[in-house]
Symmetry: D2
Amino acid sequence: MSIEEMHAAVRDFCEKRGWDQYHTPKELAIGMTNESSELLQEFRFKNREGQLELLADPEAREDIEDELADVLLFVLRFADMYDVELDEALASKLEKNRARYPENDYKEPTKTEDE
Amino acid sequence: MSIEEMHAAVRDFCEKRGWDQYHTPKELAIGMTNESSELLQEFRFKNREGQLELLADPEAREDIEDELADVLLFVLRFADMYDVELDEALASKLEKNRARYPENDYKEPTKTEDE
Amino acid sequence: MSIEEMHAAVRDFCEKRGWDQYHTPKELAIGMTNESSELLQEFRFKNREGQLELLADPEAREDIEDELADVLLFVLRFADMYDVELDEALASKLEKNRARYPENDYKEPTKTEDE
Amino acid sequence: MSIEEMHAAVRDFCEKRGWDQYHTPKELAIGMTNESSELLQEFRFKNREGQLELLADPEAREDIEDELADVLLFVLRFADMYDVELDEALASKLEKNRARYPENDYKEPTKTEDE
């Protein structure tokens, strides 16, 4: 699916259920936060190797992909309902990040590596 | 940009900064959680009208779009590094949601409206 | 229980399970985030009245109190493992907040009411 | 301060600013989520050693203690406004956890250690 088709699939799903009225910006941000937190919970107490083992396990991977899809679903929904062009927003944010994190400054934003 | 171009833009940005080593699944999920929480913070204590006023204010909208873009950036990065086809993951999750939330059951997942 | 007894109860529970090794500051902060998000999820799509109805329902209240207790558990654990005096930290933060939010400035930090 | 004195300090701070009207259960849960996420953000990309270095740095420690205090502030506020006895809620949750995580089952809830 293209990004437009993904938008349409989410819109169709929500409109058929009459959810527009519930999808305030705040509630959609709550949804993103809840789903991101659930994705994070999958990796609790795991080191790098343990995290990769999860992703190599078909059942665990399905849960992880479902949670990632839920985050994306709320991002798409927010953009669709409140008129955000995701590609333009992403390009604009990356431009700001380029100024904030110069290419050669490998120390930013990380002081020590994760493992 | 297409989804592939968005993936490529994020990949190029991160690779030029040597961030692959830091982008474990857990750290990317932390990034999504942090950015979703910052987006949510924009709408704290606002009712529906107050939330829409924010989105109508150019400066506030830019902050909101930046935070939404940050969430998307981590979703794209996670999918790219750990081989998730976002369109397939989204289609699969929507299919599960269709079974979970039948079209006519307007009461689910919401008991009372947000405002 | 006093705050010291709460600390001791959490410490005893974790030590008997050998969890000290897993309770890095980052993992405890992840725990707080996950449990706060679960508490928040209870109130999704609810207006003020719907939120109070939940708290008046014995079964829903038990879930809510469990989730609030989980957040507190991680706060107590973090303070205990990393030598934070919670009462002093709270007093210090309230002092900073007093400077940040003067008593008569009722508009801060909220522009419009929640409902 | 005792837990009662901490409750009173937070109540006094909020009442003097007329914040009761804004402190719905949902908004207080949002506050906990935002502050937990900010605490977590302090430790991003840090391994165990890097996290402990932060806690050994007076300036970083002050930020961390402020964020932990903010989480506690919202927990105390929620309990105070919605009649939760935190010590009883904690004891009840620990009792449930004892059944869920038997003392000798060291493998739960952690498969591999966190680095």
